[in-house]
């Protein structure tokens, strides 16, 4: 337990300090959101209607951007080999790393959502709906993305491949995240149905992600 806690604390500390790059994700999120009105035009009602989708896309791309760092840095300085060889089960270590990554890179995205919602003319209900779905949905993005990150780190030149492999797997999360936020804003569906499916997706990825990532790390590293 202490080993996992130490791992989580270390990962968060690395991510938040210089060169960690976790907060770059928020900056990227902001940039994507700011780009949208330039592409769509400054039509506020239209932006309010597209708002949840824009925020979800931005969060998805931002979390994809930071995923690359989940294992690469540890692989480069050799600590990944120590984690693989350590006494802690690799599945748990992967889960701990993903949790730390989510705390350092995912939570800032959710915290930034209200400010970005303001830019997109979303009202309080809409913003809180998007923030709530992001809170429930981003763990699924992190834990499925971890599989791709583990595959990419064993490939040596898998950076671009990571996006190709992870994005199809994250489509269900995107669908139900946007569906739940839309339902909260305009109806006619109830918020509960897509929201509980989103929770289910997160729970499934919580189970599948660490095992798949640990398997590919174990097989891929020599």
């Amino acid at each position: 337990m202490t080993a996992l806690a130490a791992l989580i604390r270390r990962d968060i500390r690395i991510a938040l300090r210089v060169g960690g790059g976790a907060l770059i994700g928020v900056l990227f999120f902001l940039t994507v959101t700011v780009l949208m009105p330039f592409a769509i035009g400054p039509d506020l009602p239209l932006l309010a209607r597209l708002g949840p989708a824009i925020l979800w896309l931005g969060a998805l791309l931002a979390s994809l951007l930071t995923l690359d760092r989940l294992f690469t840095a540890d692989h480069e300085d050799g600590s990944l080999d120590l984690i693989v060889m350590g006494r802690t089960p690799l599945e748990l270590a992967c889960a701990a790393k993903a949790l730390a990554h989510w705390l350092a890179a995912g939570v800032p995205l959710i915290v930034a959502t209200p400010a970005l919602g303001l830019l997109l003319n979303l009202d309080v209900t809409a913003t809180s709906a998007v923030a709530l779905t992001l809170l429930v949905g981003t763990p699924a993005l992190t834990f499925t993305g971890m599989i791709g990150a583990a595959l990419a780190v064993t490939l040596h030149r898998g950076g671009l491949l990571l996006a190709v492999l992870v994005l199809p797997l994250s489509i269900p999360v995107l669908i139900f995240g946007v569906a739940a936020s839309q339902a909260a804003i305009s109806g006619p569906l109830s918020f509960g149905t897509p929201f509980s499916i989103l929770c289910a997706l997160s729970l499934v990825s919580l189970v599948v992600g660490p095992f798949a990532a640990a398997a590919s790390l174990r097989h891929g590293l020599d």
Binding site: I147, V164, L165, P168, V208, A212, A215, H219
Partner: protein, 243 residues
């Protein structure tokens, strides 16, 4: 004759060399019968002659999912039993599965144009099959990204098993979301809703296409084994020259 006997690539090559012509012949005969029956099948009272696209479209769609299932079993063979030919089977199946998925999408679009008035609709079934196609392409890219075949095999096996979670979503997408694509009509609770005049040619075509997959798959596996032999011969030659 068990699965273990096939583990020896030489035995596999000699056995499949004998089986392959028969398989190819049976495929050709079944597809010919199926195409004849499909061509002579009556027109649908609603859809007219365009219903005949079904005899190509449905087997392709079935196989697009079936091939991923075969690859998932092969992935288990790679990761759990370490069967030496499992990764060859998985690698050989991916492009064939991608081709079936592509054909299902194209024939679906051609069928959708006269029936629904559109080539493409962002409907649950269509979208999930498109995602399946993207996953096939990603898997093929992953196979090519690694030089060492056995390492590529294990990475691809993990991804195949994760992707297999998508299969039930595709299968039941038409039942869960009530969208443009019609719900399942052949394999469903309470028996088929299809008339015999359509069902028999469809089943013949389905078996024919399945045999086509088996034939192509075995042929591709033979190619892959031979390709690996050439590769190891080249490696041996290179190391001899170096020494």
């Amino acid at each position: 004759m068990t699965l273990i006997d096939l583990a020896n690539p030489t035995k596999f090559l000699s056995l499949t060399a004998r089986v392959l012509p028969w398989l190819a012949g049976a495929t050709a005969i079944l597809l010919l019968i199926g195409l004849y029956q499909a061509a002579t099948a009556p027109d649908d009272y609603q859809q007219g002659a365009t219903v005949k696209i079904m005899f190509i479209h449905v087997p392709n769609a079935w196989l697009s999912m079936f091939v991923w299932g075969v690859m998932s079993i092969a992935a288990l063979g790679t990761l759990v039993w370490r069967h030496p030919l499992a990764d060859v089977a998985a690698k050989a199946a991916a492009p064939i599965g991608a081709a079936f998925t592509f054909l299902a999408l194209v024939t679906g679009a051609l069928w959708g144009r006269p029936m629904w008035g559109t080539y493409w609709e962002w409907d649950a079934r269509l979208t999930s099959v498109l995602i399946l196609f993207l996953m096939y392409l990603g898997l093929m890219a992953l196979w090519r990204a690694v030089d060492d075949p056995s390492r590529a095999a294990r990475a691809a096996a993990v991804l195949t098993l994760v992707g297999a979670l998508n299969l039930p979503i595709i299968k039941f997408s038409v039942d869960w979301w009530n969208t443009l694509h019609q719900p399942a009509s052949v394999m469903r609770m309470g028996g088929t809703s299809l008339d015999k005049a359509f069902l028999i040619p469809l089943l013949v075509m389905a078996v024919g296409f399945s045999l086509l997959f088996v034939t192509l798959h075995i042929a591709a596996m033979r190619n892959e084994i031979l390709r690996r032999r050439v590769r190891s011969l080249q490696m041996m030659q290179a190391s001899q020259q170096a020494a």
